[in-house]
Symmetry: C2
Subunit: 174 residues, 2 copies
DNA sequence: CACAATTGCATGAAAAGTTATGAATCAGGA
DNA sequence: TCCTGATTCATAACTTTTCATGCAATTGTG
């Protein structure tokens, strides 16, 4: 057992240090939506990432497995979208997961260009406890909120996501 | 000038494809806060990242420069916190920025372990237009919201960030 | 003051990610 | 059918990030 890093703040299994305090007041970034979203994602997930890593699973691998527990048999590119990876990166993560026997690639018989990704029983056995850890973490993190507040936040985020996707779809001007 | 990828949806200067639609309804990840935050950050920033890259600046470099435009002369570790990098990664980004003459490292005279990072005039000249691009992007992205809605979202995010930092600080229950 | 512990940063080696491209397959006309 | 263009995924070459560690400076302790 490693000697337990002395007095580290939590959420740094990757040596990542979480900000003690954000940027100074009045700074550009402090009011910049893209920064707030990135910071929120970063600090909110720091602890769960640390816990996942402690199990020996990488974060990229965890994200893919979590998606596959939800919906199995996606094509590579759709899984990449869902896991927020570009396609070549996902291909390499899949290589690693396949090497561990956690996923399996199967050719699509209808469209033989396509490869469908399936989680194996071993993969599911690996992933399910991680999902439990994630659920427990979420419960801890949101313990200070009332249920309707949580719902409000999630609705707002989904709305922002929907609008962002809409913006990104519009024809590249010119 | 490169032949401009055909018909790409916006926000993929890095070959990154932005989801057409999130995960399926009822999926675990669809309701999982960490995922929503990551997805929101991802899709919201896709387009601005694409624009920044088109200028020839990398995203990591942009994040550091944006921070330095806000507050110059931070130490390496504090700048790393602000830019959401771990320390070795920031050190290497700084190497690249220094090689381009955009930043400068100066030893702290009080504490000679410390290195203070300063943006150079060339760095500022490089960064300021990028900040303008970012501001324009933010205005576009949030054009559909009323000002008080935007404020509400930002307040909620800052609150979530504050609470997350607080959670991360508590002694590791063990 | 001497010495152990800590802090701040850099760095080498290994791992992972990105970019550009290619091979295979499919789809839509002429 | 044959050809052109698009789609899906993998991969090679290159770049970046990570992990572990080392060195130097500072702090705390007796």
């Amino acid at each position: 057992m490693p000697p337990k890093r002395a007095r580290a703040r939590r959420g740094d299994a990757d040596g990542m240090t979480v900000p003690l305090q954000g940027p100074p007041e009045g700074a550009f970034v402090a009011g910049y939506m893209a920064y707030l979203l990135a910071q929120a994602s970063h600090v909110y997930s720091a602890e769960i990432h640390a816990r996942i890593k402690q199990t020996g699973c990488g974060i990229a691998e965890w994200r893919v497995l979590a998606c596959l527990v939800d919906v199995d048999g996606l094509s590579v590119s759709r899984l990449a979208e869902m896991a927020l990876f570009n396609q070549p990166r996902l291909s390499k993560v899949l290589d690693r997961l396949a090497a561990q026997g956690l996923i399996e690639r199967r050719g699509d018989t209808d469209d033989r260009r396509r490869v469908r990704v399936h989680i194996t029983p071993a993969g599911r056995a690996h992933a399910v406890p991680l999902v439990e850890i994630a659920k427990a973490h979420e419960a801890e993190m949101l313990a200070g909120y009332r249920p309707e507040e949580i719902e409000t936040i999630k609705v707002m985020l989904r709305d922002l996501i929907r609008r962002s996707l809409a913006s990104n779809e519009v024809s590249p001007e010119e």
